[in-house]
Subunit: 194 residues, 4 copies
Amino acid sequence: MGKNRLEAFSDGVLAIIITIMVLEIKIPHSDSWAELRALVPLFLSYILSFTFVGIYWGNHHHLLHTVKRVSSGIIWSNMNLLFWLSLVPFATGWMGKMNFAQNTVITYAVLLMICGTSYYILQKIIQNCHKADEHMKKMYQSQERKGIASMVIYSLSIVFAFFNTAISGVLFVVVAAMWMVPDRNIERMLEGER
Amino acid sequence: MGKNRLEAFSDGVLAIIITIMVLEIKIPHSDSWAELRALVPLFLSYILSFTFVGIYWGNHHHLLHTVKRVSSGIIWSNMNLLFWLSLVPFATGWMGKMNFAQNTVITYAVLLMICGTSYYILQKIIQNCHKADEHMKKMYQSQERKGIASMVIYSLSIVFAFFNTAISGVLFVVVAAMWMVPDRNIERMLEGER
Amino acid sequence: MGKNRLEAFSDGVLAIIITIMVLEIKIPHSDSWAELRALVPLFLSYILSFTFVGIYWGNHHHLLHTVKRVSSGIIWSNMNLLFWLSLVPFATGWMGKMNFAQNTVITYAVLLMICGTSYYILQKIIQNCHKADEHMKKMYQSQERKGIASMVIYSLSIVFAFFNTAISGVLFVVVAAMWMVPDRNIERMLEGER
Amino acid sequence: MGKNRLEAFSDGVLAIIITIMVLEIKIPHSDSWAELRALVPLFLSYILSFTFVGIYWGNHHHLLHTVKRVSSGIIWSNMNLLFWLSLVPFATGWMGKMNFAQNTVITYAVLLMICGTSYYILQKIIQNCHKADEHMKKMYQSQERKGIASMVIYSLSIVFAFFNTAISGVLFVVVAAMWMVPDRNIERMLEGER
């Protein structure tokens, strides 16, 4: 009941975040293909962030699925996650417009690390006040493992930003790909419920 | 349950896409009618895209109606569709501001083709994991036929863009009109369920 | 069922329309009170439009309340209404920025007339495919009477725009006030259902 | 039923308000850290307002929880609250961009006072047409006490704006912190219902 509204609000915020990013792709002042080509880095950063926010939406969806009772702690750690995710359009636009310049790539990586940490905090708080069955525990563990791997890769992408930001970009794609692979544990958890 | 949230998220994104397009119609700097008249091409492209996104919303609505179980494949092909649709405001604004210039019309047509293909992929993935009754099958077939016709007309509009972009514009209207005609098969499917 | 999604989509679009209007109130470049004072006309036009969209939301809510079956005609006349309402932020911003200049006031009045007509069309289409009980009929009639009165007042506001746009502005407020008075018929209809 | 749509609409508007604020953080024109540092005041004002809107969302949620019947008075006092909250992104952006300059801090404090008053009016109107049980009464009283404290602190922040706006900023944080502390009465009310 309360949970429905938490989901509705989070969905609303995530839907807006994922969509307003496109507002940063400003309409060119001429009709030449060159203008469109100049937008390619911005477009790439947009694909990347769209995917990340999409992943967060999906995971958030599964995570809240397990919530029975909405506490103050859940509301505020959820707000905290939404806050950091709301900065993604800014970091995306900066990275895209500056053609994946060093500082912007570092900022983007740091922001994703903060988002990941915020998600982890939300998960821990939900875990603390809900008994998890076997399937959920496995899901939590698998999410945690992926989370740690992401942190390591983000750190690497920061290091590589000092040498070649293209490699950092590829590392972001690696993280996204890792999360997009369907998680057998989630599927089993969902099946277990039915 | 999971489906509700997928619908809510998609509705949110589609509602935002359809509404932020209007933000491209910048407020004139004087109060002369001439300024308003200069916005007519942008306004026309806005009507067009509003109609297209509206059609996608309606069809998406009917398509998800048939979904019983949300799989990873459905989530991601839905995200893919939303991604391309999120670029519609950009393409619309460019085409409108450039007064339906050749390159912008081609870009718009190509984007609509990609959106159509993405929709087709989503439909195929939903079909693959759901048994369809007689009415649904007919709906799918009719949608597929319309989809193919749209692709052909979009291709024509690209060809005509090299000669006269007004014809391309008319072709877009033809596609929209074709989809707006109420589909007897969908109505029958909905009735069959009741 | 289908109705829920129609409501959700309409609510989403109306919520976005009512909120993005505020984006037209650009942040001043200095911290002087004079800058804030210069925004007063824009602010007034924003209050006006917020109220109008709020009224539409409320009426839309009561209107859809009576819907049992979502037809193609309802979907498209609803889309038509949303389309014209989506232009309200533009007309509001123009009127506010141009300090209620003649042309902008006329544009605003014409847009409100089109919105009113679109609402009327939606109501007629809903009425045509739903049997109305005594209470609903009274509500429809009272809405129709208010609708006609609004049209007359909007026409007057256009006439007065040629002499004194302040009077036109007052007339807009009169229309808004007329709709804000709680409708005994709606209240009775809602009670009748319980 | 009607309540659901009121919640959905309010959630939509609040989600948009909280997210579009970030659009005021414009993307820097270079990739230097100095540009990012220049955004710090804006960023701080954004955190503040995100928290305030989040608090309103949470309280609004609990308040509507007690509503059984949506009256005209509830709809319009809710609209009134949403209207003033919709101005928060503007006041936030102005305060942030002007580096917490005196006039902007006063404007922000006054806006928060109006929002608080609007919330209080909504609460009173809901209270008037609903019988409250013991737990609800305690919740209302505790909310009222916090509301009065907030008003006093906002007034202080206006006074301090004439000497040192940093103190005003700290006072805003104090108000936010006061509301973020989980309210035992709300928790008890929710438990009482189960």
